[in-house]
């Protein structure tokens, strides 16, 4: 018989373990399963005093996503937003439901392509500003096929 601990790659093993775990407690919620796991770790059968305080672990989804239906992830390519802390390869959390106000960072569509820039409302009209001295501001004119796709809420940057 295949050995679960050695014959399979790590992620498969982990999923299999949690599947098995959920089988041993088919009617229990995730929360209770974690408690059961904790209890197992106490060797002498003495109930852990922490048992009653086990809570659901924090989830980044909850923190980063305000509107589940209208939030999408996108990948950054390029360097023009460097000074606002957005780098090549970063992961953007974009919400389509929030209004694009003056100064926010938006995913815009210009002539059919996605771009990320800071949006400014000026007396002369909308301006897309990069955050890098080498990149000029772009004034949005009637010739541009322009729309705002969503507003960038967070940037996830790998250190």
């Amino acid at each position: 018989m295949a050995n679960l601990n050695t014959d399979f790659p790590n992620p498969v093993r982990r999923a299999a373990h949690s599947a098995l775990l959920s089988l041993t407690h088919p009617n229990k919620s995730m929360f209770e399963r974690q408690r059961a796991l904790l209890r197992k770790a106490v060797p002498a059968g003495f109930p852990s005093p922490a048992d009653d305080y086990v809570e659901r672990r924090l989830s980044l989804d909850e923190h980063l996503i305000q509107h589940r239906e209208s939030t999408f992830f996108m990948r950054v390519a390029g360097h023009s937003m460097r000074d606002l802390g957005i780098f090549d390869g970063d992961l953007l959390v974009v919400d389509r439901s929030v209004p694009a106000t003056h100064g926010c960072v938006v995913v815009a569509v210009i002539d059919g392509e996605f771009t990320v820039k800071q949006l400014l409302y000026t007396p002369q009209g909308k301006v897309l500003r990069a955050a890098h001295p080498d990149y000029p501001e772009v004034a949005v004119t009637a010739e541009h096929d322009f729309s705002i796709w969503g507003v960038v809420q967070w940037n996830v940057h790998r250190l």
């Binding site: 599947a19 209208s70 999408f72 389509r96």
Partner: protein
């Protein structure tokens, strides 16, 4: 307070989904093709205007496509179902009663909502458009059948700006409108019934509305009595909040290339059976039989043609994929004939009952049933968590040569980390 039911329908849904992440497709003729890039299943307005029809084999249209620069995409169901879930979930915020009717349509109960319904419809349209990027049309009426028609009108008639409320019209105005719609557009009136209706002088929706319900019911089917009542503004059909469990579960696909080898067919059948089994367990049901069918390509008229199917009953209802596969393979070997180039295979689980209603029998092997239940649960869990097909029966094969062709599928922007949309900054 008059009854008000809205039908919200996404415009050219698959094409619209593609456009959310490929804005450069806006304004261009775009079509989405079925599995294996076979037929057109969704068209942008521009493609409709060029005269492209639904369900026509794509290879017959390659010439027109090249001439007009039509973009043809393979279907990307991961994307469509994710965006559909988002649309449906957002729509549920607009009403206490919702029936998700299909991947791109949903009924909403608007009775009791005191805002002007046309304005409310526009609000729904705006919300779906901004939050998800999918254009929708809204039809509002006192019955589901009329709501479907109102939606049809909102799409076809620019005067309504994509929201049409029959309740806000006077009786005469509505009748004039209904007189201008062909009876075939009515929900539930099949293609083959239209000529029969025309024979007795029913051509437009108005004709049907004014027809004697009872006599039509007696002549055609009881369904017609209901349709006529619904057309007259009496809601006979309620909104089903929960989709009823399916009585049959089918999984069938055409192959990426024709094959005449039994091992290929076996792999395909095992793979389709696995998928059907997953769906069965998802709705907590068991099945007492499995139907297997295979066929050659009917469009290749010069090739020898063969099609056959067989129903394999099971000793007792189960939800174990392995038992279904055993039965399906047994059936397949009975109907398989060598020397034909097969194009498609499929399986259907039948005799479906709720898992909880499975009768106990005298010879039940309780232990092996528990083991089977545990194994299926573990498989579903792993495949849910790590992606469909992570854990599968070896019989499916590891590199199937018959697998589907999706030559021009867009990225799975919302379900795969490696395929996110890229912003150039």
């Amino acid at each position: 307070m008059p009854r008000a039911i809205a039908l919200v329908d996404c415009n050219n849904f698959y094409v619209s989904c593609e456009r959310v992440f490929q804005p450069k497709l806006e304004g261009r003729p775009v079509v989405v093709l079925s599995n294996n890039d076979g037929c057109v299943v969704s068209r942008s307005q521009e493609a409709k205007d060029l005269g492209l029809k639904m369900a026509v084999p794509w290879y017959q249209m390659k010439d027109i496509a090249r001439r007009h620069g039509i973009v043809a995409l393979s279907s990307n169901y991961s994307l469509y179902s994710d965006l559909s879930n988002r649309v449906m979930s957002l729509l549920s915020c607009f009403s206490p009663g919702q029936e998700v009717y299909s991947i791109d349509e949903s009924f909403l109960e608007l009775t009791g909502i005191t805002t002007d319904h046309t304005a409310y419809g526009q609000q729904i349209r705006k919300a779906i458009g901004q939050c998800i990027g999918i254009p929708v049309c809204v039809g509002i009426a006192p019955s589901k059948t009329l709501a479907k028609l109102a939606n049809h009108v909102s799409k076809k008639n620019p005067r309504f700006d994509s929201v049409c409320d029959f309740n806000s019209m006077g009786a005469t105005e509505l009748n004039i409108l209904l007189a201008s719609i062909a009876v075939g557009e009515v929900w539930g009136v099949g293609k083959h019934t239209v000529p029969k209706l025309q024979e007795i002088g029913i051509h437009s929706v108005l004709d049907l509305k004014c027809a004697p319900a009872k006599r039509l019911g007696a002549r055609f089917s009881i369904v017609f009595e209901r349709i006529v009542e619904e057309l007259n503004g009496t809601a006979c059909l309620e909104l089903d909040d929960v989709a009823p469990a399916k009585q049959q579960i089918t999984c069938s696909r055409s192959f990426g290339m024709l094959t005449s080898s039994l091992p290929d067919l076996e792999q395909a059948v095992i793979s389709y059976t696995s998928r059907a089994g997953e769906k069965l367990r998802q709705q907590r049901s068991m099945a007492g039989g499995i139907h297997v069918y295979i066929r050659t390509n009917p469009h290749k008229e010069n090739d020898p043609q063969y099609r056959q199917n067989i129903l394999m009953p099971l000793v007792e209802p189960t939800d174990d994929t392995r038992l279904f596969c055993r039965a399906a393979l047994h059936g397949l070997r009975q109907i398989y004939r060598s020397g034909y180039a097969y194009q498609k295979a499929g399986v259907t689980l039948t005799r479906i009952i709720p898992a909880a209603a499975r009768p106990n029998t005298l010879f039940d092997d309780v232990i092996s049933r528990q083991k089977s239940h545990a194994l299926m649960k573990a498989m579903d869990h792993i495949n849910n968590k790590m992606g469909s097909g992570t854990l599968k029966l070896l019989g499916e094969g590891t590199h199937p040569s018959w697998a589907m062709r999706r030559e021009n599928r867009s990225k799975r922007y919302t379900t795969e980390w490696g395929e996110l949309a890229v912003c150039f900054v």
